[in-house]
């Protein structure tokens, strides 16, 4: 495969970045994930995933302006890149294909 490896948690984070559409930063992503999954999400884990995604080119980031919140500290806002979107698409396609090729689909 030509594209970099994408871990399961990284995929979740990447999807959440896409969901949050421009408003994605550490805390927002973590609380979104907490809401949607039943996992214990640690901020540090989310951040490492984000930085790794950025290194791989799936997301890009920009430092937001300083506000009065959080003691005037800036946030880093993440956006999904074209490569990231394409990778998510690809992965969904592969999954769908695989799902449909399971011989007898039973939902017992």
């Amino acid at each position: 495969m030509g594209r970099p490896y994408l871990g399961e948690f990284e995929e979740l984070v990447l999807l959440t970045v896409a969901v949050l559409e421009g408003g994605a930063y550490g805390v927002a992503i973590a609380s979104e994930l907490k809401k949607r999954t039943d996992r214990i999400i640690s901020l540090s884990g989310v951040h490492i995933a984000l930085y790794r995604l950025e290194e791989k080119g799936f997301v890009k980031s920009v430092l937001g302006g300083a506000t009065n919140e959080r003691g005037g500290r800036r946030k880093r806002l993440f956006n999904i890149t074209a490569l990231g979107k394409r990778t998510l698409d690809e992965m969904r396609d592969i999954r769908n294909e695989l799902w449909t090729s399971i011989p007898k689909l039973s939902f017992s």
């Binding site: 930063y25 550490g26 805390v27 973590a30 609380s31 640690s42 901020l43 540090s44 884990g45 951040h47 490492i48 930085y51 430092l63 919140e69 959080r70 003691g71 500290r73 800036r74 946030k75 880093r76």
Partner: protein, 886 residues
Amino acid sequence: MTKQSGNILPPKWADKLLMTFLPEDLAEELQGDMHEQFEVQVEEMGLKKAQWLYAFEVLQFCRPYFLKRRLMGKTDDYPPVKIFSLIMISNYFKIARRHLFRHKTFSAINLLGLAVGLGVCMMIILYVQHEYNFDRFHRNVERIHWVRTKIRNGEDSLFMPRMSYATAPLMQRSNAFVESFVRVMKGERNTLIQKKDAPEQKFLEDKFMFADSNFFSFFSFKLLEGDPKYVLNEPFTMVLSEETAEKYFGSTANAMGKVLQYKGGTSFTVRGVAEKAPSNSSIEYDLIASLASVKSMEDKKGTVKSQIVETGPFTTYFLLRNPQDATKVEAGLLQLYRTGNPNGKNNKNFMAIPLSQTHLMSNYGGISTSKYLKIFPFVALLILLLSLTNYMNLSTARSFIRAKEIGIRKTIGASRNSITLQFYIESALYTIISFIAGYILCLVLQPVFFRLLNITIDKNFLFHPYVTASFAGLFFISVFLAGSYPSLLLSAYSPVVVLYGKINRRIADLSTRNFITVFQFSISVVLIICSLIIGKQLYFFKNSDTGIKHDNIISIPFTSSVAKHYNTFKRQVESLAGVQQVSTSQYSLYDGYDMFTTKTKNSQENTSLATITVDENYIPMLGLQWKSAPVNPQFYQTPNTIILNEAAIKKLNLKTSRSVYERIDINETPHEIAGVIKDFNYESLHDKIDGLCLIIRKDTASSWQQGGGCLLVKTKANTSTSELIGRMKTIYESYESSSPFKFYFMDDVVESMYKSEDRISKIFNGFTIVTIFIACLGLLGLSILSTEQRTKEIGIRKVLGASVFGVVSLLSKDFLKLVLIAIVIASPIAYYFMQEWLKDFPYRTAVNWWIFALAGFVSVLIALLTVSFQSVKAALANPVKSLKSE
């Protein structure tokens, strides 16, 4: 509002911790996120729980990903800077070398201080390791135990280091945990040995002993010739040490099968040659004869008679199956002792001591080893600290020279870490040089040091793994410490401040530097005071009035065979020119006494008295003073008369005035007290005067036939003693041929009693000189710097009319202040330590105020001399020179 928001902040310590491992470029955003989440959590579940969660979250941030990113100093904006770049490291070496050679005096001072400190440390490490590794070269050292007996006598206890012949075999037979044993019996000092085929050559041997046949398989001494299993199997065989074999027969191979004669009688065949015992062995030997010979030797056969467990002449070692069985040995011996002596007194205990500890428990040659082992590592640590702080002090003091370099390096892109590395490499380089110099110094000085301590250390002990490991440890510790402070301090310089030229010349933290100087001088002053007090105590020992006049007295021990001709012997000595008076006693002065049990008056309690049998001349010749002189001056004509000292009178609950004609039992025989003498020190001043009883015998040959005695000869002043001794030797040798003539000057004997203090005193003087030397080097370095920095100031002052004295005092004032503070700090510390040391002595010198004053004066003088070395030069310099150059 602000107050409220202050309340809901996450715990500060957690925040601080967070900042220590977050990469700098990410810190802001991450911390922001953390705080935001915290605020949410406070609302959701309250402050307490949120704070816990926050702390927990902080810990989770401590991950390799962030740590790596932080350490690599990786940022998004710059390419990563590698700290360990080969080019930069070679550059660091180059710069370090250039600095070393550019500032030659300064570097020399710096390196010399460190080298001396390290050298002294190495010597002490060598000594301490040598002492702690005593006897550890034996294969089974953990399982070998030595047995001694403790005999309680009232309050006192007495240790007997040797057991009877039967003890060990009885023990092995009845106890399965004893695997094997070795018995060793030492021969007398000065045992006469002759070669069978060349008897005209006489050798006197001190390290002659008899040992069981398994000696060489039990211990790990190596045999050069002969089989360890068989060398000592047969009677009348013997093993020589390598040195001894060479002394007698020229070579080890030559010695095999030769015959040596013991005390002009028994012959022994040499069956083996052993390597010399290592210097850290508590068992030393020159000649080892088989124990099987003892049974058939006229003078020794009595030693093997004992059939029961008791004390005797054999040093006994057991090899146990399990090292934990030592307590079983003690119990087993006690049980066997009781079966053997059903009526014996119940005052004995047996102790099994691991071989590795026997050395530390004994007190060889008057050195209290364990005392030194406590003091020395401490001194080593102090000296190491001293030389390291000296190094740090001098290198940071020089920092303004390096400030610009650091500024430029940082502007070009050096990170703080790389500057730290640079200075570490530099310190490492300097430390390596000093370490090598220190090692050479240690090699050169160690013979002197060990001679002072009265020990020898084998050459190859220098390469003992523990010593090598300790030296390596010392090396890494010194590199680490020497580099730490300078690199931390220098790497913190901000390039803007430094390059702007605003650097304060005294940027290198003046208070730290002053602190270090005070510290160094405090240690020096403590040691000066200690040396002075130890010296004073030594002087006190040697010169205080002990109640005995021992000047011009020569003591000559004689054997029982001389005693047979005692009357003529004595008359001949008496008639020699130069002899003033002669007296005889059972033991020489300070050489020992018997302990006899007696009972106190009225209460009839058991107590013991030191007892010496002497003749009637003893008291007047030694100048002992009467407290209550005998009524009849011819008292010694009556048998069983005794003289007591005051302490004995007190001990026996008698009254001085009414004690004469009292009768007491000595050795279960009634004796009559004829008089009382004033207390005098019949032992060294280390011991308090205890009860002493002098049994006065009429001076006849029969008194000394048992075991011989000792002739005390008082010579007239201004006689040639060497000539006199020669004549006495001729007289002595006409009565005795097997035991050599020996003589001691009483003054020398007194000197030698204080050998231990003499040694401590010399060693402390040495340490004091080393610390003063290092402290002075530091001071010298600092004064060079401060005068260099103030060259212009001095120039201007001189132009304006300052005198040389004014300038010198200006430059010295600061340093003197520090030294004065050091004296104030050091005095109570030294006072405390010396009080502790003096506590052990019953007779001690006073600690006077003038000692402290003298120490203070000396240290001020030394400091002043050191500083003036530089300040006078600066003050005399022509101001034109210093002001012209810009």
